[in-house]
Subunit: 314 residues, 2 copies
């Protein structure tokens, strides 16, 4: 099943973090500032309000306020794919509608994740209801495959059914399974489908196999290392660039992801408020934070990114 | 850690189903009617908006509208323990506050269920934030242990920590694990704690071990069989009554639970709208529905409950 979409989003996307104030309310000003910093520092686009963005720990109103803050601040919506999934049908519709209204390039949709082992019919019905209730030809759905957290996989059978029913709408998929063979299988079955790897570890492999880029938590920190891979993926230099990138990713993912990224962004920006996290996620302990920063600071490729932060942590 | 609560909710509670219209919007009039029917047909109380009530498939506004409809219709709030959990802190606070405002006897709180393997500190922080943000001395929290669906267990260590921090507030627990040894362990560690078994299969065992009753999906149908067990639990007749009850429960739980209960309630009430379910849950197929009704109709103890429905299905 071939999909042609000449202007489809591609490249290095960050699953942008959500900054929270001391009362654990999202901070839209700092959010927009971070979005802008990401676009200025290696990101081709932004996929906020996913797992990294703690969207399922936020209310619908909090999520929509962040989408509107970004749109209203001139963050280019053609490079903006917010998470809009929920286990609540009504909530998924409301947030997806807000994303479309804001002009977002797409909406990243989790399957409903409370009930376990739903049938394929049940999942099809969910996505179908969201698409039809939003009822807007501008909607581009990116399916969000993250079985470790959602517990509900997006199978190739489901993708095929959805693409057949909504050919102009089902635009791609983020594969956060960490299972490269799954991404490869999807790319083989659906040439031209907008497949993002969920980790920059697979960025080069994904591009070589026909994928469009990565949407990753850790590109909140590593975008400046990921972008050269994207730009040079057809060159022989690409493997070395990918290795330098992967080495950083592997350090980052050996700690609790959201807390670690917030810690590093706090260090880079010099703004301690970044470490705030909604429960059940918790900030790193001081010992963990020190260890992460020490390990990253020892990596030459992180020098330009950490800048003074590296000096501070050393 | 002993808990004294002379007026604590007890007996046979139904995890009341949520009726939906053809547009999949909750029907508050039919909901109130069903609540009343349950109280008139064997239920000591109601625990709507849990897993059976499809609460996580609903928006916050939809959930609150049902709580307010019940309160405003004279359903006794002293027998009303709605689910108010969410993976969103803000949403859990909003629904819990609405439950307290309505005068509900308690609020049944799931742990946040999106992120996997949260720390005990993270879970404590979540419940603590909900309790302190609601900030109302009338709040009585029932912890909702359903690891098969929430993926996040409520451990005895967490219960002990919460009871110590909020002794007047942490009132009990619904154990939907289906693991009787877990319920027994909780009752042994926390005498006087308001422990409901999550299935009426364990009603008698739970009462004998010091528990207060059951909050069950299937008591939407079996309450008239469960109530005699509760009334007679200290008699020698109790084991036979429990067996008649358990036999029905075992039939019901061998099919998809929400769909099956809605099917049976549709048959009992003669209102076909009852079969509507929010995705990803799906109504039973005609063949499944026929099979369930045939099996139930063949059970003598179901005669009075099914009434004419049994005749229709035969």
């Amino acid at each position: 099943m071939a999909v042609s979409a000449p202007t489809q989003p591609s490249g290095v996307y960050a699953a942008a973090l959500t900054p929270l104030n001391a009362a654990l309310e999202p901070d839209p000003v700092l959010f927009v500032q971070h979005c802008r910093w990401l676009l200025d520092n290696g990101c081709d686009g932004l996929a906020p309000l996913g797992t990294t963005g703690e969207a399922n720990s936020l209310s619908v109103a909090q999520r929509i306020a962040l989408i509107e803050a970004a749109a209203g601040s001139g963050i280019p919506m053609a490079k903006f794919i917010p998470g809009s999934g929920s286990c609540s049908l009504a909530d998924a519709v409301t947030v997806t509608r807000a994303a479309v209204k804001a002009g977002a390039a797409g909406a990243l949709l989790l399957p409903p994740f409370y009930y376990k082992n739903p049938t394929e019919d049940g999942l099809f019905a969910f996505f179908s209801e969201v698409i039809e209730r939003v009822g807007d030809a501008r909607l581009r759905v990116y399916l969000y495959h993250f079985p470790q957290l959602s517990t509900v996989p997006i199978t190739t059978q489901l993708i095929a059914r959805l693409m057949k029913a909504y050919p102009g709408t089902i635009a791609g998929l983020k594969d956060s399974s960490g299972d490269w063979s799954n991404t490869a299988k999807i790319l083989q079955e659906f040439p031209g489908f907008g497949v993002f790897s969920g980790s920059e570890e697979f960025l080069l492999a994904n591009l070589r196999a026909g994928g469009v880029g990565c949407i990753s938590a850790s590109t909140n920190v590593t975008a400046a290392l990921a972008r050269p891979v994207y730009l040079a993926w057809q060159d022989r230099r690409a493997d070395d660039l990918q290795k330098a990138l992967t080495d950083v990713r592997l350090v980052l993912q050996s700690y609790p992801m959201q807390a670690t990224l917030k810690q590093v962004v706090a260090a880079i920006s010099g703004n301690k408020a970044w470490v705030n996290l909604l429960p059940p996620n918790r900030p790193l302990t001081a010992a963990q934070a020190n260890e992460v920063m020490t390990r990253l600071s020892a990596m030459p490729q992180m020098g330009a990114i950490l800048g003074k932060a590296a000096t501070k942590a050393a």
